[in-house]
C-alpha cells in the first residue's frame, strides 16, 4: 500500500516539478520582452497573454506537488499540539467534508468550462487577436484531477495513520528553511552553538 502511495506522490511531484521550470522561461520571456520594448521599441502583442498562461499553468500544476509535500498552508495553532491519531482523524473528516466536494466541483466545472472553450476554439480577449486559450482553460480540470488523485492518497494516509498511530513517511524534498543546509552555508556546527552556552549562562551581559 505504502508503495502505491509513494508512486502517486512521485507522479504528482514529477508533474509539478516539470511545470515548475516555467518560472525560468517566464523570467527570461519577460526580460526579453522588456528589452525589445524599451530598447528596440518592438513590443509583442502576444507576450502579455503568454506570460499569464505560463504563470497560471505553473501554479495550477504545482498544486498536487505542493499537496504531496504537505506544503499547503495550515492554521497551525492547535494542529501541532494534537496527537498524531487526532490529527489524522481531523484531516480525514475534513478531507471528506471539504476537500473532495470542493475539488470535485472544480474538476467537473472545469471540464465543462474547457469543453465550451474548445467548442468555439476560443481566443484571448485581453489583446486584439489574442492567442488561443482553450488549452489554457483545460489546465483547470487537469490540475484538478491531479489534486483529486493526490487527495485520495492523503485520505489513505490518514486511514493508515489512524491504524498505526503515526504518519506514514513522505519523500523528502527541498525545504524553504533547511536549518542543516543553512548551517553548512555559513560554516556553523552544532558544537559552535553548544559552546556559546557559556556566554549565555556566565556572560557578563547575561540577564540577571
Amino acid at each position: 500500500m505504502q508503495k502505491l502511495l509513494l508512486t502517486i506522490d512521485k507522479i504528482s511531484t514529477y508533474a509539478g516539478q516539470a511545470f515548475s521550470w516555467l518560472i525560468v522561461s517566464l523570467t527570461f520571456l519577460i526580460t526579453y520582452e522588456v528589452f525589445t520594448r524599451y530598447a528596440m521599441d518592438a513590443p509583442h502583442a502576444w507576450a502579455f497573454d503568454i506570460m499569464l498562461q505560463m504563470y497560471g499553468t505553473l501554479f495550477m500544476m504545482a498544486g498536487a506537488y505542493t499537496l504531496s509535500k504537505n506544503g499547503m498552508v495550515r492554521g497551525d495553532v492547535l494542529y501541532g499540539f494534537f496527537p498524531q491519531r487526532v490529527q489524522a482523524a481531523l484531516d480525514l473528516t475534513l478531507y471528506i467534508l471539504f476537500f473532495l466536494p470542493g475539488v470535485a466541483a472544480l474538476c467537473w466545472a472545469g471540464y465543462y468550462y474547457a469543453g465550451d472553450s474548445w467548442r468555439i476554439l476560443e481566443h484571448s480577449g485581453i489583446t486584439a487577436e489574442g492567442p488561443p486559450i482553450y488549452h489554457f482553460k483545460t489546465i483547470i480540470p487537469v490540475a484538478g484531477a491531479f489534486i483529486l488523485v493526490q487527495g485520495f492518497v492523503e485520505v489513505v494516509r490518514c486511514i493508515l495513520c489512524l491504524k498505526d498511530g503515526k504518519w506514514p513517511s513522505r519523500i523528502q524534498d527541498v525545504e524553504e528553511v533547511d536549518v542543516e543546509k543553512l548551517k553548512a552555508t555559513v560554516h556553523v556546527t552544532d558544537e559552535d552553538i553548544a559552546k556559546l552556552d557559556e556566554y549565555v549562562t556566565h556572560g557578563k551581559g547575561g540577564d540577571k
Binding site: I23, V34, G75, L94, V179, V186
Partner: protein, 645 residues
C-alpha cells in the same frame, strides 16, 4: 493531549457558543445569517489545521450551492459550476498575482547567492564606532536581506547563526540580541518588494505600484526607530551592549595600503601622492589606479544624485520619457568622463562634466573645511546643462541648492575622514551591501517611477538574481533547481489559497453575509477613527491564530467595502494592515520568528528570553502604527508625489 490543545479547543468552543448566542432563533434565519455562520465555521475549520485553500474551496462551493438553490433549485448546479470555474480562471488570469512567483523566485536566487555573511561583516565594521554596533549592523543586514529575499524564516535562521553568536560573544545581553535578530528578520514583510502587499493589492483592488511607493517610508521609519532604540539603550546601559574590543574592530590593510598610509592616512592624498611620485616602486600602478577608481565612486554617486535632482527640479513642466532618456544619457556620459580623469590623475585639468567630483575631491584634500563649500556650486552650473535639451529648463529652485549644499558638504566631510581602513570597509561594502541595495532600488525604482510594471520589474529582479548568484560563483544547476521547486510550491500555496478565498468570498456575497455586516457596522454609528481602531484590533487579534496570507485573502474582502463608507483610503488602510501584520510575527505565543531563532540558538537560551527580547520591538511597532495613523503623510507622501494626477 497537552494543555495548549485544550486551551485552543476551549477558545473554539467559545467562538461556537458566541455565534449561536448572537444568531436569531433558527426560524428567523435568512441567507445572510447562513453567511455569518459560514464565516464562523471557516475560523474554526482553519484553527483545526486543515489546508486552508481546500477548506475555503469546499465550504465556498457548498454554500454557493445553497445560495443558488434557495433562489432557483433547477439551475443551482450549473450556476455553482460556473462560479467555481470562473473564479479559478480569474486567478489564473490575474495580472497582479503573476508578480508573486517572480518575486519569490528572485528571493530564492538572491538568498542562494550567499551574501549575508559578507553583508553582516562589512556592515558591522562600517558601524563599529556606533554604540551597539553589532545590533545596528544586524538590523540593517536583516532589513536589506529580508527585503531582497522576502524569506523570513531563512533570514532569522541565518542571522541566528551569524549575528546572534557574535553578539553573545561581544557580551550583549541575550534578550537584546534575540530581540534584534527576530525583529530585524521580519522587516521583509513590510518593506517592498513584499508578497504581502501584492496579495493585498490583488484582494483590495489597490494599485500595487502605489502600495510599494507608500510602504517605502513606513518601512524605513520602522527600521530607523529600531536603530534609534538600539543606539539609545546601548548608550544609556552599556552593560547590555558593550562597545567592541579593539581587536574586533581591526581591519587588516593590504600591503600596498600599509606602505602608502605611512605617508598620509587620507586615501585621496595618499593615492594621488603615490601615483604621481615614483617613490613606491614596489606597489604596482594597476593596484593604485584601481583603488583610485573605487575611491572616487562616492563622489560620482554624489554627482549623480545632484544631477538627478537638478534635472528633476528644473525639468520643463512635462515629465515624460524623453526627459528620462536624457537623464540616463547624461549619467552615462558623466561616468565615462570622470573615470577617465580618475585614471589620468590630473585634478587641476579635469574639465567638462567631471568638474564637480574632481573639484570636490581636490577641495577635500587641500582644505577639508567649510569655506570651500560655497565654491563648487559655481563650478557645477555650466557643467550640468551640457546635456542636449530642446525645451527650456526652469531656473534651479532653492530646493536644488539646498540639496546641492548638503551633498557637497557630505562629500567633503567624507573625503576628509576617508582613510585606508575606511577604504577597506568601503570595498567590502561594495562587494555585499551595494549589489543588494542596487537590486532592491532598481526593482522598486522602475516600478515607482512608472518605467516598468511590477511584473516586469519582478522578472528583471529574478534575472538580476541570476546575475548576482553567478557573480558570486554560486550559480549551478542544484541552486537553480531548488529555487525553481521552492518557487513552485510557494506560488501554488498562495495562488490556490487565492482561488479558495475568491470562491468563498463569492459565496459569502451571494448569501448576503456582507450586507448584514455592512448594515450592522453602519448601525453602530462609529466615527472613522473608532472603525479604524476596531478593524486594526480585529486584524491584530486574528494575527495570533492565523497566517497573514489567510487574514489578507479571507478578511480583507469583508473590511474593504466598509472603507468607502467611512471615507478611508484603501491604500492607507493597506499600509496600516501591513504594519499590523508584521507585529503578528513578533507577538507571543505564536511568533514564528522566535521559533526559527530558538531552532539555532544555544540550548540555554529559552523561548521566554526570546519573547521578552522581542517585546520592546513590538512596542516600537505599535508606536510605528500610531505614528503612521497620526501622520498619514508618512505613507501617502511618496505615492502623492509620484502620481500627482
Amino acid at each position: 493531549m497537552k494543555k495548549e490543545a485544550w486551551f485552543g479547543i476551549s477558545i473554539m468552543a467559545l467562538v461556537v457558543i458566541g455565534v449561536f448566542w448572537m444568531m436569531p432563533p433558527l426560524s428567523q434565519w435568512t441567507n445572510g445569517h447562513l453567511g455569518l455562520l459560514m464565516l464562523a465555521m471557516i475560523v474554526i475549520a482553519i484553527m483545526l489545521g486543515f489546508p486552508t485553500a481546500f477548506t475555503l474551496m469546499g465550504m465556498g462551493s457548498m454554500f454557493a450551492f445553497f445560495a443558488y438553490y434557495s433562489d432557483n433549485p433547477n439551475t443551482a448546479v450549473v450556476h455553482t459550476f460556473d462560479l467555481v470555474s470562473q473564479r479559478a480562471f480569474a486567478v489564473m488570469n490575474n495580472d497582479v498575482l503573476i508578480s508573486i512567483p517572480l518575486f519569490v523566485f528572485m528571493g530564492y536566487l538572491v538568498e542562494r547567492a550567499n551574501l549575508i555573511g559578507r553583508l553582516f561583516k562589512s556592515l558591522h565594521l562600517a558601524t563599529s564606532r556606533i554604540p551597539g554596533s553589532l545590533a545596528v549592523a544586524t538590523v540593517i543586514t536583516c532589513a536589506i536581506f529580508a527585503t531582497a529575499t522576502g524569506i523570513i524564516g531563512a533570514c532569522v535562521t541565518l542571522m541566528g547563526l551569524l549575528a546572534f553568536p557574535a553578539m553573545l560573544k561581544a557580551g550583549y545581553s541575550t534578550r537584546l540580541s534575540a530581540g534584534v535578530v527576530t525583529a530585524g528578520g521580519t522587516l521583509g514583510i513590510l518593506i517592498p518588494p513584499s508578497v504581502l502587499l501584492i496579495l493585498y493589492g490583488a484582494t483590495a483592488g489597490v494599485s500595487v505600484v502605489q502600495l510599494y511607493a507608500g510602504a517605502f517610508l513606513p518601512g524605513f521609519m520602522l527600521t530607523g526607530l529600531y536603530l534609534g532604540y538600539i543606539i539609545i539603550s546601548a548608550k544609556l546601559k552599556p552593560s547590555i551592549a558593550p562597545p567592541l574590543s579593539e581587536e574586533d574592530q581591526r581591519v587588516d590593510l593590504p600591503k600596498f595600503a600599509e606602505v602608502i598610509s605611512k605617508k598620509s592616512n587620507n586615501v585621496m592624498v595618499g593615492l594621488i601622492g603615490a601615483i604621481k611620485g615614483q617613490r613606491n616602486a614596489d606597489v604596482p600602478m594597476k593596484t593604485l589606479v584601481n583603488h583610485m577608481i573605487i575611491a572616487i565612486l562616492p563622489a560620482l554617486a554624489a554627482a549623480l544624485i545632484v544631477l538627478v535632482v537638478y534635472l528633476w527640479t528644473t525639468a520643463p513642466s512635462l515629465v515624460d520619457t524623453s526627459g528620462l532618456q536624457v537623464m540616463g544619457d547624461a549619467a552615462t556620459e558623466i561616468t565615462e568622463d570622470s573615470t577617465d580623469t580618475g585614471s589620468l590623475q590630473e585634478p587641476e585639468g579635469a574639465g567638462g562634466l567631471a568638474e564637480p567630483s574632481a573639484e570636490l575631491g581636490q577641495a577635500a584634500q587641500v582644505v577639508p573645511a567649510a569655506p570651500e563649500a560655497p565654491q563648487p556650486p559655481a563650478e557645477v552650473k555650466p557643467a550640468t546643462p551640457a546635456a542636449p535639451e530642446a525645451p527650456p529648463r526652469h531656473a534651479p529652485p532653492l530646493v536644488f541648492w539646498i540639496t546641492f549644499g548638503i551633498v557637497a558638504a557630505g562629500v567633503i566631510l567624507f573625503y576628509a575622514i576617508f582613510d585606508f581602513v575606511r577604504l577597506e570597509v568601503f570595498k567590502m561594502l561594495l562587494g555585499s551591501f551595494f549589489p543588494l541595495a542596487l537590486i532592491i532600488l532598481g526593482v522598486l525604482g522602475t516600478i515607482v517611477v512608472g518605467l516598468a510594471t511590477p511584473t516586469e520589474a519582478a522578472a528583471m529582479g529574478s534575472f538580476g538574481g541570476f546575475v548576482l548568484a553567478a557573480a558570486y560563483k554560486q550559480l549551478n544547476f542544484t541552486v537553480v533547481k531548488e529555487s525553481v521547486f521552492l518557487t513552485a510550491k510557494t506560488s501554488a500555496m498562495v495562488c490556490w489559497l487565492f482561488i479558495g478565498s475568491s470562491i468563498f468570498a463569492a459565496a459569502f456575497a451571494l448569501l448576503g453575509g456582507q450586507e448584514i455586516i455592512n448594515t450592522w457596522v453602519k448601525s453602530m454609528d462609529m466615527t472613522p477613527t473608532q472603525f479604524m481602531l476596531l478593524a486594526q484590533a480585529i486584524i491584530f487579534l486574528l494575527g495570533w491564530p492565523l497566517e497573514w496570507t489567510e487574514i489578507i485573502v479571507i478578511f480583507m474582502p469583508i473590511f474593504i467595502p466598509l472603507l468607502a463608507h467611512f471615507g478611508i483610503d484603501p491604500l492607507f488602510f493597506g499600509l496600516l494592515v501591513a504594519l499590523n501584520l508584521q507585529t503578528a510575527f513578533l507577538s507571543p505565543p505564536v511568533a514564528m520568528a522566535a521559533f526559527y531563532l530558538k531552532g539555532v540558538a544555544p540550548p540555554h537560551v529559552t523561548l521566554n528570553q526570546i519573547f521578552i527580547g522581542m517585546l520592546p520591538f513590538m512596542a516600537i511597532q505599535m508606536l510605528a502604527i500610531f505614528l503612521l495613523y497620526m501622520f498619514p503623510q508618512i505613507g501617502l507622501w511618496v505615492p502623492g508625489l509620484v502620481y500627482k494626477g
